[in-house]
């Protein structure tokens, strides 16, 4: 019988005392080893196999498969994906199906262009060129802007974020100071200056500039994720087995952090597209001889005051359409990776 004066030293002891107390109260206490439960007959009865085919079996799904399933079920995500798909299709094949000839001035009938009609669904600009062709041809550069900027920003942002969040120490302090500095200056200010002074109208150069200025937020997010994830137990477990730091950071932790990072990356795409449009609208961006949704908008402002709205409306609608699609997708992705945040 456990000695009460020793005080509880392990959970077993505490349990023993309580059970012993119950047995005492019932008057049937027999001492350890004699209880009805511990007789070999009782144990034989309990030691039976269970029926395997009775159980409902659930095949285990990997995290990615689960996420994909949830994404598919999400109505908005599916709609968004379709919208984005349409735009990407137009971006790739549009210029082939509806080529744009800036010198084709045969369609002009009014000064200021025609409103939407059956021949020109989106109307014509002030020189008689079809706005539909403008939009469809501009898709290529605009969409490309989104994607390339995202790739560059994500690469740099991930690298910085992982280094800071995983390794910590002075690397963290230094990198975060840099991030703080970049975030202290208003984003648009720095983009406009960089685009105007160093962009030179070259789309590719501008994409690089955008990418190199868009990474700080993603870096901060990655770092925050890593700071919390590296405290998880599986990290200790992997370390104990001798997994190297680099492998740990990329093979083990990164898959878990990918959810919010992917969502953030989609937002970068959306922002880059809008940004390109504004910068080109101000004539600081892509040179006028190339077409993007932004350049399509740039000369349209003057016409607006005169009441010729279609030239400004449709390219902007195209941007909105694409961005709405991206945001819907992003929402679906967010829910797919973290169903607890589900509405």
């Amino acid at each position: 019988m456990p000695d009460r004066n020793d005080g509880p030293s392990e959970p077993q002891d505490v349990m023993d005392e309580r059970v012993a107390a119950v047995y005492e109260r019932s008057g049937e206490f027999q001492g350890p080893g004699d209880s009805i439960l511990h007789s070999s007959a009782a144990r034989d009865v309990l030691a039976a196999t269970y029926d395997e085919d009775y159980e409902v079996s659930l095949e285990p799904l990997s995290q990615w498969q689960l996420a994909w399933r949830r994404f598919r079920k999400h109505r908005m995500a599916v709609v968004g994906s379709i919208m984005v798909g349409i735009m990407v299709f137009i971006a790739i094949f549009g210029p082939i199906i509806w080529p744009y000839d800036p010198l084709d001035l045969t369609r002009i009938t009014h000064p200021g262009g025609d409103p939407p009609s059956l021949q020109n669904i989106f109307g014509t600009d002030y020189l008689g060129r079809s706005v539909w062709e403008l939009v469809v041809n501009g898709a290529r550069l605009s969409v490309a802007f989104g994607l390339v900027t995202m790739v560059i920003a994500t690469t740099v942002g991930l690298a910085v974020g992982v280094a800071a969040g995983f390794y910590g120490g002075w690397v963290d302090s230094l990198l975060m100071r840099l991030v703080d500095l970049m975030l202290a200056i208003p984003f648009l200010f720095i983009i406009l200056v960089a685009a105007a002074f160093f962009g030179g109208g070259d789309p590719l150069l501008l994409m690089v500039i955008f990418g190199l200025l868009s990474w700080p937020t993603l870096a901060r997010l990655t770092r925050a994720l890593y700071l919390s994830l590296r405290e998880q137990e599986y990290v200790d477990a992997a370390r104990a087995v001798g997994v190297s730091n680099r492998r740990l950071a990329f093979r083990h932790i990164l898959p878990n952090a990918l959810g919010p990072i992917i969502v953030s990356a989609t937002l970068i795409v959306a922002n880059a597209i809008i940004l390109e449009a504004f910068v080109s609208f101000l004539n600081f961006g892509i040179r006028n001889t190339d077409i993007s949704w932004g350049t399509a908008l740039s000369a349209s402002q003057g016409q607006l005051i005169l009441g010729n709205w279609w030239w400004a409306f449709f390219p902007g609608m195209a941007i909105a359409f694409m961005v709405i699609g991206i945001n819907f997708m992003g929402d679906g992705l967010r829910d797919a990776f973290d169903p607890r945040a589900h509405d």
């Binding site: 456990p2 509880p8 959970p11 077993q12 002891d13 505490v14 349990m15 023993d16 309580r18 059970v19 107390a21 119950v22 047995y23 109260r25 019932s26 049937e28 350890p32 080893g33 209880s35 009805i36 439960l37 511990h38 009782a42 144990r43 009865v45 309990l46 030691a47 039976a48 196999t49 269970y50 029926d51 009775y54 159980e55 409902v56 659930l58």
Partner: protein
């Protein structure tokens, strides 16, 4: 201690739960979290609801308090009578009076159960003002008294402190003080000690027991820990798959458990007698809530199942050998005639599962 399908209500019963069901409608289907629970709790007495996670014990408590969000949850049948009044028939305003005023509840996680931006004095006073309608100053005095009652040192200082300034055990004491401050008739404690250290556990349990005695309060203790149950309660209800499978006085349950699940639970407790041996486990796992087995819920894991178990749901009733314990198991009751076999194993037809012509 009655738990049969139509419990008679005796005058000393404080709470009578009858055929209570709580279902959750979610995207993938309906979860029958509580599927026909019956028990009664006399004034001043205590009952322990025991089971694994997923057995429906917490949902039962939340249903009694009507703290569940009703769109996903619904209560298709059942009644919860507190001193004769059916709580399920009360309006929300009336129910609010019951919550905290007549039935108090203490939760499992003291770390997160208190609002971090208010002092504990404020949070306790809030409850007092709501139910006892006293002034702010008097509520504060009572809050200090409540804290003293639960054994907190220097309660006048504690009242002004924030939850994050207290340890887990102290926070749980504060929660209990909050619950007791309005002198309720009954306390529901949902795993009150699971998140605490072992030494603190004992203190909190002692506190609950002492408070119960002081106030003549009834106690509904929910736990998976059989050791806690052994020490704290008069009666036990063992839950599995949303139902009570065995119920009776605590001594009976521990010395002559009847239901195979209860046997398994007791046998899996680590005890000194078996130091060095493997712990025994109940094979298998809790059934998929969307796809409960036909027949007895426990049958897939039961080492003593036989034909009627897979087709017919046993009801909770006194076992045939005349003991006080009630059990829901075909081993202790006569299976329906068309089950093909009697409890003693005699087949009534050559083809098990087919009704007699």
């Amino acid at each position: 201690m009655k738990g049969s399908s139509v419990p008679e209500e005796r005058p000393q019963d404080l709470l009578v739960v009858e055929d209570l069901r709580t279902y959750f409608e979610v995207m993938d289907g309906t979860v029958r979290a509580v599927d026909g629970v019956n028990f009664s709790l006399p004034r001043g007495k205590s009952i322990g609801i025991v089971g694994e996670s997923g057995s429906g014990k917490s949902v039962t408590a939340l249903t009694v308090m009507r703290l569940l969000d009703m769109p996903p949850a619904r209560i298709p049948t059942g009644s919860i009578r507190l001193e004769g009044r059916d709580l399920l028939a009360l309006s929300e305003d009336e129910m609010r009076g019951v919550r905290g005023g007549e039935i108090a509840m203490v939760f499992q996680e003291p770390m997160t159960s208190l609002n971090p931006v208010f002092t504990i004095g404020y949070q306790i006073s809030e409850a007092i003002i709501e139910h006892l309608h006293v002034s702010r100053d008097e509520a504060n005095e009572r809050a200090i008294a409540a804290l003293a009652q639960v054994g907190m040192s220097s309660p006048e200082q504690r009242v002004k402190q924030y939850p994050h300034e207290l340890s887990g055990g102290m926070r749980q004491r504060a929660m209990i003080a909050m619950g007791l401050s309005c002198e309720p008739k009954m306390l529901i404690a949902d795993e009150p000690t699971t998140a605490l250290d072992v030494t603190v556990q004992a203190q909190i349990l002692d506190l609950i027991r002492a408070s119960q005695a002081d106030l003549g309060m009834a106690l509904m203790l929910i736990t998976h820990d059989l050791g806690v149950v052994a020490e704290m309660v008069d009666h036990v209800a063992v839950m599995y798959g949303g139902r009570v499978v065995e119920a009776g006085p605590v001594e009976q349950i521990f010395t002559s458990p009847k239901h195979p699940y209860t046997l398994g639970l007791l046998d899996s407790m680590p005890t000194r007698a078996h130091r060095g041996e493997r712990l025994s486990v109940i094979k298998g796992s809790v059934p998929n809530p969307f796809n409960m087995p036909v027949g007895c819920n426990f049958a897939p894991r039961c080492p003593r199942r036989f034909e009627p178990c897979r087709e017919h749901d046993p009801e909770l009733r006194p076992s045939e050998d005349g003991s006080v314990t009630e059990v829901a198991c075909w081993l202790y009751a006569e299976p329906p005639a068309d089950a093909g076999v009697t409890a003693s194993g005699v087949r009534t037809s050559d083809d098990p599962g087919r009704a007699e012509p």
